[in-house]
C-alpha cells in the first residue's frame, strides 16, 4: 500500500531508526512499510497516526 511515511519522516528530520523507536518497532519494519513491502496492522497504523498527528487516510493512500 502506498504511503507518505518517508515524506512525513523527512519533514521532521527523523531517520528510520528514530521513527522505529517512536513506534516501538525495528528500523527494518519502518523500511518495509515505507517501501510497500508490508502493510501494518490496525494497531500499528493507529500508532503511526498518533506519532505523526495525522489521520490514517492522510498517511496511507488507497491503491
Amino acid at each position: 500500500m502506498k504511503n507518505r511515511l518517508k515524506v512525513l519522516r523527512a519533514e521532521r528530520d527523523w531517520s528510520q531508526q528514530d521513527l522505529g523507536d517512536r513506534l516501538g518497532v525495528s528500523r527494518q519494519s519502518v523500511n518495509a512499510i515505507e517501501t510497500g513491502k508490508y502493510d501494518p496492522s490496525l494497531p500499528l497504523a493507529f500508532r503511526i497516526s498518533d506519532v505523526f498527528e495525522l489521520p490514517i487516510e492522510k498517511i496511507f493512500l488507497r491503491d
Binding site: 528510520q16 522505529g20 525495528s26 528500523r27 523500511n31 512499510i33
Partner: protein, 201 residues
Amino acid sequence: MSHDLEHGASVPTGARYALWIVLGFLAATVGGGFAMKSLDLGWTGAAIYVVFLLAITVTLMRWVQRTGMQSGCSSAAITRYNRRMLWGTIGYMIGLFAAVWLFNSGHVGRPWLWGVALLPTVPVLAMVWAMGRLLVEEADEYIRFRLVKQALFATGGLLAVSTIWGFLEQFDLVVHVPVWASVPVFAVMLGVGQCFRWVRS
C-alpha cells in the same frame, strides 16, 4: 560495510560477507568432520575438534547478533533466541560427543542406552522450543511475519526433500539417511530461504 539502509533497495554488501562467513563455517564443520574421519585422531582429536566447533559457533553467532543490532534488524526476543540457540548448540555438541563416547565404550548396559541415545535430543528439543518462543515473544509484527514465512519455507523444503529422498531410498537409489537429519535439513532450508530473501531484496 556500505549499503543503502534507508532505502533498502540494493543488496547489502554485508550479505556477500555473510555468505563467505557461512561457507567458511560449513567448510570448517563438514570439511573438518571428513578430515577427522580420514586422519583417525581418536577421542582426544575428536574432543579438540568439538572445542574448535564450539569456538567458531560462538564466534559466528556473536557476529550474527552484532550485525543484526547494527542494521536495526534485532530485537530483545531475537537476542534471547540467539542466546538459547547458542546454549542448545553447545549442549548438543557435548551431548552427542558424550553419547557416542559412552556407546563406543561398551560399558553401558542396555536399559541405560535409552538415556544415552536421548542425550543429544534434549538440547535439540530445547532449540525447537526456542524457535517457538521466538514467534511468541517477538513484539515487532513485521519481524514476526518474516520469521513465520521463513519457518513455512523451511517446513515446505523439509517436506519436499524428505519425500523425494524417502522414495529414492525406497527404490534403493540412494543411501539411507537417519531421521534425525530432519533438523539439520530444516536449518539448511532456513538458510536457503534467507539467501532467497537477500537476493530478492
